[in-house]
Symmetry: C2
Subunit: 353 residues, 2 copies
Amino acid sequence: MTGPAIVPVIMCGGAGTRLWPLSVGEAPKPFHAFNADVSLFQDTVRRVTPQDEVDFLPPLVICGEDHRPVVEAQLAELGVVPSAIILEPCGRNTAPVAAVAAQVVADRFPGAQILLLAADHQIADAAGFRRAVARGAAVADERIVTFGVTPSGPETGYGYIQRGAPLAEGVDAVIRYVEKPDLVTAEGYLAAGDYVWNAGIFLFSPPVFLAELRASRPDIASGALAAIPGGDGQTLYLDAAAFAACPADSIDYAVMEKTQLAAVAPCDIGWADVGSWSEVWRLGRHDDAMNVTRGATVLIDTQGSLVWSEGPTVATIGVKDLIVVATAAGVLVMPKGRAQDVKAVVAALGKAS
Amino acid sequence: MTGPAIVPVIMCGGAGTRLWPLSVGEAPKPFHAFNADVSLFQDTVRRVTPQDEVDFLPPLVICGEDHRPVVEAQLAELGVVPSAIILEPCGRNTAPVAAVAAQVVADRFPGAQILLLAADHQIADAAGFRRAVARGAAVADERIVTFGVTPSGPETGYGYIQRGAPLAEGVDAVIRYVEKPDLVTAEGYLAAGDYVWNAGIFLFSPPVFLAELRASRPDIASGALAAIPGGDGQTLYLDAAAFAACPADSIDYAVMEKTQLAAVAPCDIGWADVGSWSEVWRLGRHDDAMNVTRGATVLIDTQGSLVWSEGPTVATIGVKDLIVVATAAGVLVMPKGRAQDVKAVVAALGKAS
């Protein structure tokens, strides 16, 4: 293996409410299997275990205390011992989490870089991803590298990055970040050819990241680091009062849109944020009638649908482009086009309870 | 009370497969509540308990051995002690069952009439029904009286009866029986005005019925009676070999279409055979968006649908004219227009197991 040591930092935040009734309570979205034999979290861990391409150290996992049991159980299933587990007392978005991780890695693994990943993304070409990480690592001691996915269509649900001049092999400067654009704008980006999707994955040297965060958002830098407990335990409980007092913001807003050190490593790796049931259908294995099924199902005159059972048989007759998901927590039925509206169901259930 | 004593004979046969996944195994259709606080079976029992209009004796219940526990439990809930429970070792349709019931009632309650009922019909106007029974009873020592429901539309799923000349107050002769007609024929019957739906309910004197059955189908008469065990117990196990050897046929074919003694008591009593989920929707209590719901449900942009939960929350978003039923046995999703196709699901599950 060549290049610097890299600590994968895996963030397990996010409730995944659009994936109700599968993503609930103590086992939200990252801890379920969609198109693999392991959960999204486990697939993420497996993607960054030591390989030929990159010198990965054991991962550092950041999750809520509620999810510690499922994190530990799923790591044990893989036989992976993490570098540490950091428990978030509350969600403060990604910038404070990245600051905490940067400080912990700087203290424990001097000289190592951080690869910051969400636990709930799917990447079809893991080796291709690792090759992109290796290219990024060549500049990540001086730059904050993000990963830019070749767009497969004018998606309006993702952020875009406009690529600039090459900085190194497979790494470009960043001209600008664009948050979720409208459809016409997204189509223009595709036609222009120099825009990529922001995969929300970052590679950086902890001291460089912390310096940039201190420059742009000193309140977040000091607030987050104040929550780090002393000692060198395997499990770090962030101080609840201190972390709650830290302003919440994303890395994109707090650092990437302001720093002069941003770089982007373009890659075409089958990346997807498994964000909704229509995405699960799109990413799934389709039968001849374009259906995707899971578990015990009986489909009669059914087309273009996702039929998902975690328990007893789910039967459909004469339906098209429908999502049907049944778990112990509930049953969801909607056209694929309404997959963004699941949050309304979760909100209604929250009000009812 | 006036008129002869009447023993209600309640037949609990029929698997109700079109009501999967509610009607399953040990608790098929008659034992579930649809639009009442009690099951269809219990509602049937309640309908024929002693009332002002008619001198009903305790009911005689006929069911499969599998369903004896639910029959006994549901009778106990009502505080009803039956005249007897007859256990069918297998289904032989209604004519053999009626023959057995006729012989048992003739032996145990000499002079009483039998009111033969299915356990899975809904009748909105129970008092109106009992008044029709009282009118029928006036002629039922000499006639075999059936009940003719005023059609509410050109239904093609029911049998029709053409009414003839009056025989007594509220009882007419029968010109002819017609099995399920096509739509044009059914519309003609409605226009003609002298056709009623065959409710499948019969009132007769046991010796008269047995004589007519012996005349038209002596094989069924002798076959069925050979299955009756000796003794006077509360629970009668029909002889399995003898009953299985009895030819299967309906009362309509075996007796009513052949006898000269048929009579019909027209009545307008809100009768329905709760045969399918679209019927359950039609008969249910509709909200402003024409939805019918049961149990824990969240409906968003949902119209004209039946959403039925026997357990965790069932949520629908953006659907119309859909049936969604979730029980511990399974989940069913289909447009209302496909409600007749549920048998295909049950068949597929049968093959799979």
